[in-house]
Symmetry: D2
Subunit: 347 residues, 4 copies
Amino acid sequence: MFFASDNAGPVHPAVMEALNEANSGFAASYGADALTVDVRTRLRNIFEAPDAAVYLVATGTAANSLALATLGQPWQTIFCAPLAHIEEDECNAPEFYTGGAKLTLVGDSDKMTGQTLLDTLTALQVRDVHRAQAGPVSITQVTECGTLYTLDEIRAITDQARMSGLPVHLDGARFSNALVALGCTAAEMSWKSGIDVVSFGGTKNGLMGAEAVIFFDPAHAWEFELRRKRGAHLFSKHRYLSAQMAAYLRNDLWLETASAANASCARLAAGLRAANIQLDFEPQANMIFCSIPRVLAQRLQLRGATFSVMQGSIDTGPPDALLPIRLVCDWSITHDQIDQFLEIVSS
Amino acid sequence: MFFASDNAGPVHPAVMEALNEANSGFAASYGADALTVDVRTRLRNIFEAPDAAVYLVATGTAANSLALATLGQPWQTIFCAPLAHIEEDECNAPEFYTGGAKLTLVGDSDKMTGQTLLDTLTALQVRDVHRAQAGPVSITQVTECGTLYTLDEIRAITDQARMSGLPVHLDGARFSNALVALGCTAAEMSWKSGIDVVSFGGTKNGLMGAEAVIFFDPAHAWEFELRRKRGAHLFSKHRYLSAQMAAYLRNDLWLETASAANASCARLAAGLRAANIQLDFEPQANMIFCSIPRVLAQRLQLRGATFSVMQGSIDTGPPDALLPIRLVCDWSITHDQIDQFLEIVSS
Amino acid sequence: MFFASDNAGPVHPAVMEALNEANSGFAASYGADALTVDVRTRLRNIFEAPDAAVYLVATGTAANSLALATLGQPWQTIFCAPLAHIEEDECNAPEFYTGGAKLTLVGDSDKMTGQTLLDTLTALQVRDVHRAQAGPVSITQVTECGTLYTLDEIRAITDQARMSGLPVHLDGARFSNALVALGCTAAEMSWKSGIDVVSFGGTKNGLMGAEAVIFFDPAHAWEFELRRKRGAHLFSKHRYLSAQMAAYLRNDLWLETASAANASCARLAAGLRAANIQLDFEPQANMIFCSIPRVLAQRLQLRGATFSVMQGSIDTGPPDALLPIRLVCDWSITHDQIDQFLEIVSS
Amino acid sequence: MFFASDNAGPVHPAVMEALNEANSGFAASYGADALTVDVRTRLRNIFEAPDAAVYLVATGTAANSLALATLGQPWQTIFCAPLAHIEEDECNAPEFYTGGAKLTLVGDSDKMTGQTLLDTLTALQVRDVHRAQAGPVSITQVTECGTLYTLDEIRAITDQARMSGLPVHLDGARFSNALVALGCTAAEMSWKSGIDVVSFGGTKNGLMGAEAVIFFDPAHAWEFELRRKRGAHLFSKHRYLSAQMAAYLRNDLWLETASAANASCARLAAGLRAANIQLDFEPQANMIFCSIPRVLAQRLQLRGATFSVMQGSIDTGPPDALLPIRLVCDWSITHDQIDQFLEIVSS
């Protein structure tokens, strides 16, 4: 009953198989191998973007930071939601990679809107030399609260950004989970909605450690390559990043694992609702934020369930007090494990 | 006949096996897994350094840059040999990670000496506020020219550094190859010789992408962890870095692969000498720098050999002119491949 | 009737006189001159801090950025009020000088409190490696809204910071105006209230361009000197910075000019109140934020008054709509000019 | 007898007079004042560059660092001579402002040539992603050894740079001294010789602290303004920078002071030659590098002369051993002082 994170599960067997297959003889290093060419082609096809510049790195923070540094300037501010991963969970990596850009928080929670972005830009008001200049906008899909931007919501934001001349980055650590939830195409959820650059996650959805960065306008390609190398994120044995990503894209594995994770989450959410557990956000992909009595949290933990407590202590406090927790469904979680969890909740 | 680099070879089967074995169920992320504990213990034992702070990253450039940034300050200069990897092959990653430190080149080729370090420090002379301040010393073992520092040579450098209050970093991308060549212990080649921090390479010796950074004084441990995270080099599915390194250290695999590479290199060097090929550096580990007639280089290439041309063009120029080339022996190169290469040389 | 800023007024005649006097013969450069020694002694005496490290720079942004960079680390976040100069008016200079630290906004306007600081620190909650680490706290006295922290309010903040192990910086661009308003000593408003470092402003109070940075704990002195030089803020003809500051401190000129500015502001505020103008903040030093009908703003401008419009346009909109404006009293503004301004307001 | 530096002399009386004149009433801050407009026009006229972007800062290091950061990228290397001020005397300011660019040393002393630049570029050879990329070229005129580049020598370097697509910066801390020595125009010594950006010094030639940065192509103007502000080098009371520079340019004062300094230097050099003192570089502007017996150095010091000892100790060593010293002639040094110095030398 492991619900602590989707970065603690195993690599999908098909991906391990691909790594084993790739492991024969010599292959040109630093991305000059055939598998990397294959991955680039596959991603361009999937995104219907034949000119896109496509790169692989091993961590989501690297994907985000390098993408934002390439899009922006050190004297700018990046616009993101207050709970964005780049604000909360990357230990100033975006500030480091951009050379000291600022992050300005838009809205008050998991999502920004076209309107809150406009309000924030308006409040910045004077664009003189004294202030941080307006820079890239970054949104997260699936958000850090397990919710989704609809295509219309994305479009409202990118329209606003476009009017202000700002590029838009999409942190897609859970891109696949969002895609299957929305039932749209990768192109629709990205460049057709006005997105300029996507961090296309794989690690949280069955890979060992591989993320793609996709620039729909290849103008910054060489700069990105230099930034990746300078950031020490260019892998020498690059074929092993590519082998993962190739397996991920082959036979729609990326959609299959994401669908599994989302379905598990839906089952878990239904069960929690049936047990009258309060959901703090509408779970739209593979994460649930809910509040449960401390005593229940303790019982779950005692019985072997693993999950994150978002605020307060599981050990100290009134037994009946509600404790906000996060439950993440990895692609590999089983229905048995979910049902076992729900049984404890209901008992 | 692939002699272009030791970062283009396959992962050792025992390492792939370990990855497959590690791939089951959930494991705590970000290094809180059992394999990581195991690796830390193994490295402390091997280095006879029970207090050492031990970390894993995926690239050698990350290991070097993060180590040097932790040892030094942005207003300092790092002392290294002119052909050092950190100077020549990391696209300003050390400058980036240190926040703008300088690199001062010591000596004129692959190695510095205690004397050339002293000369350089003396030339800096006035240590007032106007100049870059003296910072970490970094040496590479095996050097970028395939040569070795003896323990006495290392000691002469670290003694000099100690007298100036400077910490010493060892870039050990090919640490294992050096160790088996020198026939000493890891402790002798590091802290017993005055080294403060080691980048302990694995990728060039049979791993997929895993390097350890070992601080013999753990005082900077937490700073390193923050720098690693901020640099986007903290892996979420950390067990897969650890599984590689654990397999590497188990049953002396790291020494076995290094010995194989060195032995291949010795065989190749002997053959080249027998063919009267001029060796530009004494090959002491798994790399050979030699100069061959252009026409021979062309013939080798035509017959399928792969290697790096260090200067000039293989295609254009007088057929008899000597072309400096580099031949690197991966652990996986076979004696047959070497003999085949030598046959072409001699024919 | 110039109320746009206190950085547009003339240099006080006594300061110009001191510059003229200093302008004879040779003087050791880079701060090794006698005037600099004199300034250091004077500031240590004024602050009752015989061990303090004292430095001069030419701009307030340099003073703030260099001080914060010396106090903190790149992976930390600096706590400040949303309207702080370091957040709003320095074009990412703090982010640049710290090497990419973040700024976290505390409270919702001009001031933080011990409580809002505690709330913010609590919300950061988990201090693991993924988040920006808690770093220096920075408060501004006089605030950017013309208000003051009482000594008790400062103490509540520094107590809270001390409990979390965080150093506290005071941006004292208008330190003198605050001091005469509070009627306390420099020591009381700084280290006796728990402040670690002060940016002691001079430029906005009659100098040409000179600010002191005062570290009450001299441990970071040498680091600051290196940061100042590396930031290109070490003046070669340093005597001309020192001559300004020496004249400022001699005969209590710094208190005299600040008192004049504050008295002018009080006169202006009283007149505005008498004319039923709404004051948006309580003017406690030399700045007034008030809202006046657009038509009045236009009339003032037409008659030659200069001031900042904080939001909206002076030219476009309903004549009766209230326009928020800022009125700053330089030390050199005359009562005649104020009365003339008030006459227009009342007419 | 002060020959230690030209940054220790007084401000020229005409410049002080201009500062006093400027000190009346209010003036728009941050460079929006009339004097700044005047300075911009004057410099454009002098340089015959009506479109040039012209900015003022207070230190030469700021001028150089901001100019180079604007011209280059963090992943590039800047080419300069080994004794360049940006390499030796700015405590990593160029590395800081560029965000971590490298400096590559060209030639072996005070000057590079077209040929040594070509050799260095050729040695960099492979321009792949692993190496620092070729960036701006920076030359110093007058060099740090008191020598000059002829216009032909400058042209040879800029031609070479142009062929490699690299911009060229001229560190003109002593631009005026070079100009009067060469007897050419400012345009000839800059853009007509292929220079892209000039740091136009004033501080070492009679100003208090004011340097201009001149971009002949104004494309980077706004970026420079943002970098200057972010670097905390935008003066609020900007008129006092402009007043200095305006007085400097008025009535050819800049040429007058430079001529005086050069003439003093020629007189000193002639006297030293007559006394058979060995000159280590040909003194072409206002600086002399020569070697004198230690006992003479001691006698000069004892009699009140001030100068820099370039290597070794004035106090310890054989009395007859030659000590390399530097003698700099400030514009304000008198012929009496020079003759007095020479008298001691000859006695």
